[in-house]
Subunit: 208 residues, 2 copies
DNA sequence: CACGATATGGAGACAGTTTCCGTTTGTCAA
DNA sequence: TTGACAAACGGAAACTGTCTCCATATCGTG
């Protein structure tokens, strides 16, 4: 998709205009603009808009893709510079911070993750992979429990994104992150049956 | 809303027909049916459908309301018969079980929780209150940490609901619950600054 | 049973989306 | 430079689903 398309000069120009306008609008809080009107606003015909971005989600994804890949490489950097468990924690907090800075990102991600038409969701999948890697590293060195998959963490992130436009979301999102980070650190006592009792063993054997 | 409306005989009959048909369809996996077609399928005019259920969400809420209040009273029962922390854990697992049994419930709840048009969301709020109560009880008796609000837990539930139609969701949802339950049990060492080190102190260090 | 209140159905107005195709523009080879 | 062809454009028109409105039918009560 990135390569393989020479893409004619005017086409690229239009595409960029569209993207720029979308960024501008998203940044100012307009998300539910009519698709038609958006085309006019950007100064192109409806047909053109549709050719470049067949759906609303395609546009949103394009707008936030670099944001998204930036986040993924941030994950990779953290993974290299910090112990695994801390890297994961840092990344998750960073994630919420990002959401806070770019209002539209939350909405977009929620849609992207929810999309079952798996055609466009690979932005979401990329994120999933980053989280999976962080988690795996933590499991490997024993600081994170091994009995929960990255999918569980993604579900939580999904929830955060989906609920992010509600009042007080920032604080609650942070709490949710705290919760799963601490949850991930509590290493399960072997052989313990599911629910029950002294759930979290002292995590990293931590304290004296 | 429940009381105060005598509601004429034929009206009630129609309402019930509508509800029954909706249940039937939801149970068979049809959620995105045209609203108009749905009316025809139930054998009433569009006007009638709209009078009884002004929006798609209103219908969904009506269909699942008893399911929902059942869940809330289940929460109350658990709270009375178990120590707080365990009651919360049990409830959350029960919640996922419910989702699994009634496919449509997840979708409905996700919508309900997301709805900012706070008119109809009181089903979601009721659930929120139930969770808040469970949590508060746990905080009171010292088995659950006091620094995260019910909102955080609701976010996670939201995420679970929103992602529930994906493959393997059941297992991941269970993991997510495990995560927050353990997270909630890890009592924060006082004065510790946010992220970092030995997050989870031994939780239910609590009980002797 | 007659009358007012209540409910019904479905045609049609409406809003947003998407397609389609005649016209314009860019690109490349001669 | 110019000609020819493919690629891209724009916007009118068709479509799709939602929602309103009101003439008509039905209920229930004095």
């Amino acid at each position: 998709m990135t390569t393989g398309k020479p893409l004619r000069a005017d086409a690229r120009r239009n595409r960029d205009t569209l993207l720029a306008k979308a960024r501008e609008l998203f940044a100012s809080g307009c998300f539910d603009l009519r698709f038609d009107d958006f085309a006019r606003l950007a100064g192109v015909g409806t047909g053109t808009l549709y050719r470049h971005f067949p759906t609303r989600e395609a546009l949103a994804e394009a707008v936030y893709r670099e944001e998204l890949t930036a986040m993924c490489s941030c994950a990779r950097e953290l993974q290299e510079s910090l112990p695994a468990a801390e890297a994961l924690a840092a990344f998750l907090r960073e994630f919420v911070s990002h959401l806070h800075t770019h209002q539209g990102l939350a909405r977009t991600l929620a849609t992207l993750m929810a999309t079952r038409s798996d055609a466009l969701a690979d932005g979401g999948r990329e994120l999933g992979r980053a989280v999976a890697d962080l988690l795996a590293a933590g499991v490997e060195d024993g600081t994170l429990r091994g009995d929960v998959g990255a999918g569980a963490v993604m579900m939580v992130l999904h929830g955060i994104c989906a609920a992010y436009d509600q009042p007080g979301a920032r604080a609650e999102a942070d709490s949710a992150i705290t919760l799963i980070v601490d949850g991930l650190r509590s290493v399960r006592p072997l052989g313990a049956s599911h629910g029950q009792g002294g759930g979290s063993g002292s995590a990293s054997g931590v304290a004296p």
